[in-house]
Amino acid sequence: MRPTGIWFSSYAAEARVLETARARIWLGLLGAGLLGLPLVSGTWLLGEMTNLFITLIAVCGLFVTVGMAGQINIAQSAFVGVGAFTAAKLSGLGVPVWAVIPAAALASGVVSVLFALPAARVKGFYLALTTLAAQVMFPIVILALPMSWLGGLVGMPVAPPRLFGIGLGTPAGLYLLGLVLAALAVWTSYNLPRSRIGRAFRAVHDNDSAAGVMGIPVTRIKIAAFFVGALYAGVAGAILAYLLQFVTVSSFTLFASVWYLGMLIVGGLHSPLGPILGVIFVTLVQEGLHSAGNAILQSGSGLGGGAVFAASSVVLGLCILAALIFEPRGLAHLWTQTMTAFRLWPFPRN
């Protein structure tokens, strides 16, 4: 809901995502702050933020597939992996960054289409199972391929990225790369629901039989949803490869896919704000548990580092269940409600 006194004199003005000048100023300030962060912060924070951006890109992709088109995808981590391995292979061959990232995105997209093809025959849960197959098959295939192709069990080194003669391999460089691409991912996921294909995704999400009756090519749209979602995953994978400098199969597990889904559900499936809030929330919880875990470790009790990971699993699981049971629209909805209450104050929000 809008505050009082805001009106539009043209249709284009009303269709904007950022409706008011104040919203644009706030966004500009946020962007400037994020751009300026490398000047003031240490390496640790930059690394954490880069990780957050990578996760955000992957979850934005999941928002397109799962949130907008309603097709369950439990292989996002495998698609990130395809992107990472493509980036590693190409960077090893000396391909520059600006070509590696689109190539990684495309590679992930093509692989996802392969597993989305059963959409022609099955739907809903059964389609989710083919993505499960993709996730389980991914490490088996990589490990079985000859060592010289994708590194097999050992993994592959990644050459540090260079753009226009500037080395981006530093923490600050990677941070900026992640920031720019995450901004792009957020921008596209805000605008996709307003486009023709985005509306088709939404129609298929709501009722695919009805969408078919209205003339939407349902199968093609479903495959497109997987393709677009995997494009994001490929980009995330490419940056992750640069960040890790060494890719191995063990980084891309089913469990990671489930975590991505969890972040999306906690944040909210139906709003582009969802991925952002979900990723930030889960990262904060994880970091909080990490520091709590470190404090416990230093105090000398017998708990291992595994317990911290287990505790964050428990917390995330509980958060997803709480979101599903009490607030299926996630943190994004809570955010809108809070903003509305704030704007209407002192009048009650009905």
């Binding site: 309603g70 369950i72 439990i74 597993f115 059963p118 025959r121 099955v122 809903g124 849960f125 059964y126 989710a128 199972l129 083919t130 499960l132 197959a133 389980v136 098959m137 088996i140 295939v141 490990l143 079985a144 391929l145 000859p146 009722n207 039989s209 009805a210 009756v213 089913l254 469990f255 489930v258 975590w259 889904l261 969890g262 559900i265 291992g304 595994g306 317990a307 990971f309 287990a310 505790a311 964050s312 699993s313 428990v314 917390v315 995330l316 699981g317 509980l318 997803i320 269940l321 599903l324 049971i325 299926p328």
Partner: protein, 299 residues
């Protein structure tokens, strides 16, 4: 030739274990229309419960007799299944299939974390409940543990089949699997159905854990069995109890053949990929599986 038959026997016996886990999928689905992605975690929890009441109690100086340990495990499974119904699925009755699937995803994360917090990540030896050894049948060797498991699977299948098709409660559960809202409006208690489904599902999963792990290693990684059994359940048909062991036989035999003859050629990938390739093929050709219910879509 002897080697070939030996491979067939071993594949069939392992396949029936997959079938047993698949039955625990099917039981839950058949009674509540929930496809539980976390079934592998349920197997792990069942196995850890059993471990606690046998080795764990012996470890702290209170060894229990085997029958009491098994009884306590059974009680633990019932309590566990009932808790899940009460806390997770009861509030979600009437929600979309998507939400219920996501609840399964959440359970997967939650149960894995809980198992690690409660029992720790280290692997340990599982209690040996079934006798380990080999039975000589002419030139062939049959693993006794798996043989007992196979007989158990077949008996259990028949019993559950009779339960679901002959008993009043079983038929009511089938109505819930058809449609929650319709079942509810006809006076069938959906809550009760889901509770029964989960209790049976955990008990069967724990039985599978006994057969699978008896005398071998118990760790969190055992949960992978859930994802191996999912293609089996799908091939048999999610609604068919008797389809599950049959599909298990098919997958087990083909997996054994692939691992004997194709793995040397493909660097060990063929047997790992096979169940999932079968799964995708089933989805493309017969999405409802060999014996599942064919659903009609209405607008």
């Amino acid at each position: 030739m002897i080697e070939f038959v030996q491979i067939l026997i071993e594949g069939a016996l392992v396949g029936l274990v997959y079938g047993l886990v698949a039955i625990s999928f099917v039981v839950i689905y058949r009674a509540s229309k929930i496809i539980n992605l976390a079934q592998g975690e349920v197997v792990v929890v069942g196995a850890f419960l059993l471990w606690t009441f046998t080795e764990g109690m012996a470890g702290i100086g209170y060894p229990l007799p085997l029958w009491l340990a098994l009884l306590l495990t059974l009680a633990g499974c019932v309590a566990f299944g009932w808790t899940i119904e009460r806390t997770v699925f009861r509030p979600l009755i009437g929600q979309s299939a998507f939400t219920i699937f996501m609840a399964g995803v959440a359970l997967l994360i939650l149960l894995r974390g809980l198992a690690q917090l409660v029992w720790g990540a280290q692997s340990r030896s599982a209690p040996a409940i079934l006798p380990e050894g080999a039975l000589d049948l002419g030139p062939f060797l049959v693993n006794t543990r798996l043989l007992i498991g196979a007989v158990f699977t077949i008996l259990l299948t028949q019993a559950l089949h009779l339960f679901f098709t002959r008993s009043r409660l079983g038929l009511r559960l089938a109505a819930v699997a058809e449609d929650h809202t319709t079942a509810h409006s006809l006076g069938v208690s959906v809550r009760q159905a889901i509770a029964v489904a989960w209790i049976m599902g955990t008990v069967v999963a724990t039985a599978a854990a006994v057969v699978l792990l008896s005398g071998s290693i118990l760790s969190l990684e055992v949960a992978v069995i859930g994802f191996k059994a999912l293609p089996v359940a799908l091939l048999g048909g999610m609604e068919s109890i008797r389809g599950a062991p049959l599909a298990g036989l098919i997958i087990g035999i083909f997996e054994a053949l692939a691992s004997a003859y194709l793995d040397p050629l493909t660097n060990g990938a063929a047997s790992g990929l096979l169940p999932y390739v079968v799964m995708i093929a089933v989805l493309l050709i017969r999405p409802y599986g060999l014996f599942g219910w064919r659903k009609i879509e209405r607008l």
